[in-house]
């Protein structure tokens, strides 16, 4: 009976060890990624982007006119982006944004829950 219990404990220990390693592995496994949003034909493409916290988004202006990327409440904004120029930002939370020159150009960043 005693031997059985210790075997059972041993198995439990092993199982929890495997589970824990799995959890740690998962957490450290998410290397920050880079995403590209093209600004093309007066649209942010893709207009909705799902990222993980800490990922980087790079905006590239492929239009012939200048644009910018401005958070909807103006808490952050890119400088003026001339044609072919880029701007990047590390994303910490979900945000909606627009171009303050062309106010009907809108986009959204959604930070996926882990």
């Amino acid at each position: 009976m005693k031997a059985f219990i210790s075997i059972k404990n041993g198995i439990l220990f092993l199982v929890s060890l495997v589970l824990l390693t799995g959890v740690f592995a998962c957490q450290s496994n998410h290397l920050p990624k880079k995403y590209i949003v093209e600004i093309k034909d007066m649209k942010f493409q893709p207009s909705k982007l799902i990222v993980q916290k800490g990922d980087t988004v790079i905006w590239i202006n492929k239009d012939i006119v200048a644009h910018n990327v401005t958070e909807k409440n103006n808490t952050w904004a890119s400088p003026l982006l001339l044609p072919e120029s880029t701007w990047e930002k590390v994303i910490e939370k979900s945000d909606s944004y627009y171009c303050s020159i062309h106010i009907n150009m809108v986009g959204a960043l959604l930070v996926a829950s882990q």
């Binding site: 034909d41 007066m42 239009d63 012939i64 006119v65 200048a66 020159i101 062309h102 009907n104 150009m105």
Partner: protein
């Protein structure tokens, strides 16, 4: 023979007059005018410059921040398009050429500027934004149906094609501003 020539002249004149009325009323009517690349370049520059001129009047007469922001966007974007068109004609050693369409656009714009300048401060914003909606609709149709299909030079065609979504964004912006003012 002399009589015949006179008749011919009169017919030609009448024809030209009818053409200018039916073809260009508004500047780009249902009947499609035929334009060469230098003429298309001239139309493009005039169409963009007109909208800059309207925006300059708005900057002097409007107090509405949304109207002023819209006007600033018009100045920036239409200036960019003119610069690119000028760079293109310079590259290809083409001189923009006046034509019936660009002349009609210019004379219509003179009337619009008079109308805008005559408005009281209270009436101005609506008159300006209403005109921007109508003007962008007309120019979009002209670029899509006349200027793009008729341009021969591939770079000129590509530039005009890139201008369409810009004009469409301006139209949406103008319509949004129009709704807010109701």
């Amino acid at each position: 023979m002399k009589n015949f020539q006179n008749v011919k002249k009169v017919t030609l004149l009448a024809g030209a007059f009818l053409c200018s009325v039916t073809l260009l009323s508004p500047a780009f009517g249902q009947n499609t005018p035929t334009l060469s690349d230098p003429e298309i370049a001239s139309v493009a520059v005039v169409a963009n410059q007109n909208d800059i001129d309207f925006a300059e009047i708005a900057k002097q007469k409007s107090q509405n921040p949304e109207v002023l922001e819209f006007a600033n966007t018009m100045i920036k974007d239409h200036k960019t398009v003119i610069d690119l068109a000028v760079a293109l004609v310079t590259k290809f050693h083409v001189t923009p050429k006046d034509n019936a369409v660009s002349k009609k656009l210019l004379s219509d714009a003179e009337k619009t500027k008079k109308m805008l300048n005559s408005k009281s401060a209270k009436e101005f914003d609506k008159a300006y934004v209403d005109n921007e909606v109508a003007y962008h609709k007309a120019v979009i149709a002209a670029v899509k149906n006349v200027l793009v299909p008729q341009s021969q030079n591939a770079e000129l065609k590509a530039l005009l094609q890139k201008v369409v979504p810009i004009l469409e964004a301006h139209l949406a912006h103008a319509e949004m501003t129009q709704k807010k003012m109701l």
